[in-house]
């Protein structure tokens, strides 16, 4: 069956294979992040799910060699202004990884507003 499947995928390049396997929306979101953060750049990575769901591990690999600093889990944010103030200095971009849906890119300066909207809905 796998051989037949492979034959049916003749002509599909690795980009198309990624869109098929990961979903077009996911790949589009990831490409947007790649355009914003250069390969030798860095970003803050926030986990929008639970640890064992592995969303940050998956996204970190897809964005590598861009270097990530882990900023924590959205579910653990109690007071967003204090949490934002405690984030490591440096990276301009914050990337939020979700299990099963596309990642979100947030400019650090817009993070308090984004969090307010996000946590307000929680």
């Amino acid at each position: 069956m796998r051989i037949v499947q492979a034959a049916s995928r003749l002509g599909e390049d690795s980009r198309q294979a990624r869109r098929r396997a990961l979903g077009a929306a996911w790949v589009d979101a990831e490409e947007e992040i790649r355009r914003a953060v250069p390969p030798d750049g860095e970003y803050l990575l926030v986990d929008g799910g639970a640890e064992r769901q592995g969303a940050t591990l998956f996204l970190r690999y897809q964005l590598a060699p861009r270097r990530a600093r882990f900023a924590g889990r959205l579910s653990e944010v109690v007071e967003s202004p204090r949490w934002v103030a405690s984030l490591p200095a440096g990276p301009r971009w914050v990337v939020v990884a979700y299990p099963g849906r596309p990642p979100v890119l947030v400019d650090r300066s817009a993070l308090p507003r984004w969090l307010k909207g996000k946590l307000g809905r929680r």
């Binding site: 051989i3 002509g11 690795s14 592995g54 591990l57 970190r60 690999y61 590598a64 600093r69």
Partner: protein, 481 residues
């Protein structure tokens, strides 16, 4: 898959196969192996040499992991192999005689080839979709490739989000070698066939070792059983379609051990086994324990034959040399990496070790049993193995049984200890037990082949003594008067 990407992936396989062929040519004991086994060992030696040397050159001499260095490292054994071949081409070949395959053996070869092809197709058409590939092996490879060194800043400086930064980098370096040589894009999975190639190599290592120990028929049936196991081929968490390091570790560990258990151990076989065990030590964290363990088990086996063959110390010394060098490299590289074990401190507690080794054992065994009974991962393999071993116990009355048994038990022993000290044993067993079984697979399958050989003799109506008698009579008949 488009042709260019498929070709890049296959070129990545050739990047290790060609220098491996050179090494197999200059090592007489490997050169003399039968074609299938020769091919498997050549591939393993190629990966061990190319990735191992690049690892050492990058760490010790700061050589950049770029095409000139990669091609030079891969080219050196090719040149040596060509010179060796040119020098001995007029001499009589010492290669093992090739026997024609019987019909049922062709059927086994066909099954193995189709499954290997299916694994390769999966590797060529799917991106990396497995947990450890994302978390460790393929992620580390991207960082190492970007900076061109195994001492990448994300590993050597604190603060970056990285998992298991102290895991050895042999396979990530092999990935980098493929990706750099083929000038692959970041998303191009050109390295995936490298992992897929370990599946037929694993089968050939099992077949070759089993044939040496148990004969053709038992080797054939054992290899067929191995080929039909879903887990080593298609399991996304550790099979050949993933980017996990467990199957490569199984090949290096089992392949090195099988070479050392040869009845007449030659110095070049010792050196080849040492290179494979060195690769085992650099392939995965537990490899640093398993490789020396395999060396000790094989050493005990050799010393038990001391009276017959007093020259065994030389091959063993040659086997020890690359292994010791690999361990020195590993510890030197790890010394520069902070936060080596902090990620584990959250999930393990050594205070649980005693009496947990005993008190937790029933729970661990029960959970491990659930994994082994999974039909989708193992079929009926673990139901039949105890039956075959019990029924064919006479076949296990061999000198090689003890080192094989110890070598099969070693990865499972590491698993038992790690589950005992784990704070989340259920989760860890569920995610790792099958992989420990894969690591133990080669010695385990060789034991199975010994038992199977006894059963096949029994089925043919021959006791071992009768079989020996029949063979000697046959020899007597064929001897000219």
């Amino acid at each position: 898959m488009v042709a260019a990407e498929a070709l890049a992936g296959l070129a990545g396989v050739a990047l290790f196969a060609v220098p491996g062929a050179g090494l197999a040519e200059i090592l007489p004991a490997v050169r003399a192996l039968r074609p299938g086994r020769h091919l498997a060992y050549a591939w393993l030696l190629g990966v061990a040499w190319t990735a191992g040397m690049l690892y050492a050159l990058s760490h010790l001499l700061a050589v950049p992991l770029r095409p000139p260095a990669i091609l030079a490292v891969a080219g050196a054994p090719v040149a040596a192999g060509v010179v060796s071949w040119l020098r001995r081409r007029h001499l009589r070949s010492l290669a093992a005689p090739v026997h024609a395959l019987r019909l049922w053996e062709w059927a086994v070869v066909a099954v193995c080839a189709v499954i290997s092809l299916a694994v390769l197709c999966e590797a060529l058409t799917q991106p990396v979709l497995d947990w450890d590939g994302w978390m460790t092996w393929a992620a580390q490879a991207r960082y190492v490739r970007h900076e061109g060194t195994v001492d990448a800043s994300v590993l050597t400086r604190k603060g970056w989000y990285i998992t298991h930064p102290w895991y050895p980098l042999l396979l990530p370096v092999a990935q980098v070698a493929v990706l750099e040589t083929t000038r692959a894009d970041w998303d191009d999975p050109a390295f995936r066939p490298l992992y897929a190639a370990f599946f037929p190599v694993w089968l050939l290592v099992v077949y070759g070792g089993a044939r040496e120990l148990a004969g053709r028929a038992a080797a054939g049936w054992t290899t067929l059983a191995a080929a039909l196991l879903p887990c080593p081929a298609f399991e996304l968490s550790g099979g050949a379609i993933s980017a996990y390091s467990d199957l490569p570790l199984a090949c290096f560990y089992g392949g090195g051990l099988a070479l050392l258990l040869a009845p007449r151990l030659r110095p070049s076989a010792g050196l080849a086994a040492g290179i494979l065990l060195a690769a085992a030590a650099l392939a995965k964290a537990e490899g640093a324990a398993l490789a020396p363990a395999a060396f000790v088990f094989a050493g005990l086996y050799s010393f038990s034959r001391w009276r017959r063959c007093r020259r065994h110390w030389r091959p063993l010394a040659l086997a020890a040399l690359p292994l010791v060098l690999a361990l020195v490299l590993l510890f030197s590289w790890r010394a520069g990496i902070p936060e080596r074990f902090e990620s584990y401190e959250k999930i393990v507690s050594w205070s649980l070790l005693w009496p947990g080794l005993l008190t937790r054992a029933p729970r661990i065994a029960a959970r491990a049993g659930v994994e082994m009974k999974s039909f989708t991962e193992w079929g009926i393999f673990w139901w039949t193995v105890p039956l075959v071993l019990a029924a064919g116990w006479r076949g296990l009355r061999r000198r090689a049984t003890l080192p094989l048994l110890l070598a099969a038990a070693a990865p499972l022993g590491i698993a038992w200890i790690s589950y005992t000290i784990s704070l989340t044993p259920e989760f860890i067993i569920r995610t790792s037990w099958n992989r420990f079984l894969v690591q133990a697979s080669v010695p385990l399958l060789l034991l199975l082949s010994l038992a199977l050989a006894s059963l096949l003799r029994g089925a043919a109506g021959l006791s071992p003594a009768r079989a020996r008698l029949a063979r000697s009579r046959l020899r007597g008949r064929s001897t000219p008067a």
